[in-house]
Homo-oligomer: 179 residues x 2
Amino acid sequence: MSTRDRLVESTRELLRERGYTGTSPKAIQQRADAGQGSMYHHFAGKQDLALAAIERNNEEMTAVAERELSAPGTPYERIEAWLRREREILRGCPMGVLAQDPEIVGSDDLRSPVAGHFEWLRGRLRDVLAEGDLDVRLADTLMAVLQGGYVLARAANDTRPFEDAIEGAVGLLERAAAG
Amino acid sequence: MSTRDRLVESTRELLRERGYTGTSPKAIQQRADAGQGSMYHHFAGKQDLALAAIERNNEEMTAVAERELSAPGTPYERIEAWLRREREILRGCPMGVLAQDPEIVGSDDLRSPVAGHFEWLRGRLRDVLAEGDLDVRLADTLMAVLQGGYVLARAANDTRPFEDAIEGAVGLLERAAAG
């Protein structure tokens, strides 16, 4: 990996583990095994690093969700596959944890790319729901089940609340899809 | 308000606005208009203040939810009233924001009382769901819809994702309750 890539990957890890407020440029340098001069050669500072990390999160997460949502199968089956995908629950959602960080929510520059990912996902889910004649507001309901599932699991330090939240939602959706 | 109460209320506000990591003892003193000596007379430090703030959150939130969940009406109606209660959406859930704070999740002393509130709510919702012959795992689904709704609303800086998430969930629950 290039130094630039190591810096971006280290920033992604630290944002997920410690949030934006809890991540210092020095911690990023240490994690990436990069010097201060090298870091400032590639990035203007912590915000610039965070924007690159969010952009890479967005690319990866969009590609994974798109595979599930555009796979063969009924709308219900595609959404079920997306909901039930294995996730690193106790690490939290890479995007969701950022939406809870007061410094990110307080800065339009940092908040906008996080919002952009959820907007894309909302639109994509609404298309699939509409295809199945389901209430398109369920896009937000189902995204919220995932995001809130992470919150409850992290509070409990146990994956069970996440798993129960998903299975409860799948049951409701199945019933709605059956008409 | 007594100095002790002002310190606890100021801690509650700051935890909700800036998280645990982003809140300093100095900021609490300034918000409470209390001196350092006075703060350390009442509390051993930031963790002790946070524990008192979480305890007061818990008391208030438990009382409000209990009113809705033990009101007259069918299980569906009581859960609907709880879901649709007016909330200060863009400020985030006082408990949920703490479950996203890396320093709180990383400390069993701080995480446990947050987990305890959600455990109480889960048990209470499960009782009401069981009374209505509904899947008790929906307790976590519905708690997650609320917590995730806050996350999506804060990411978007707009209350709409929260509102859509709730209305989608109410529609699914109504259908399930109708049998």
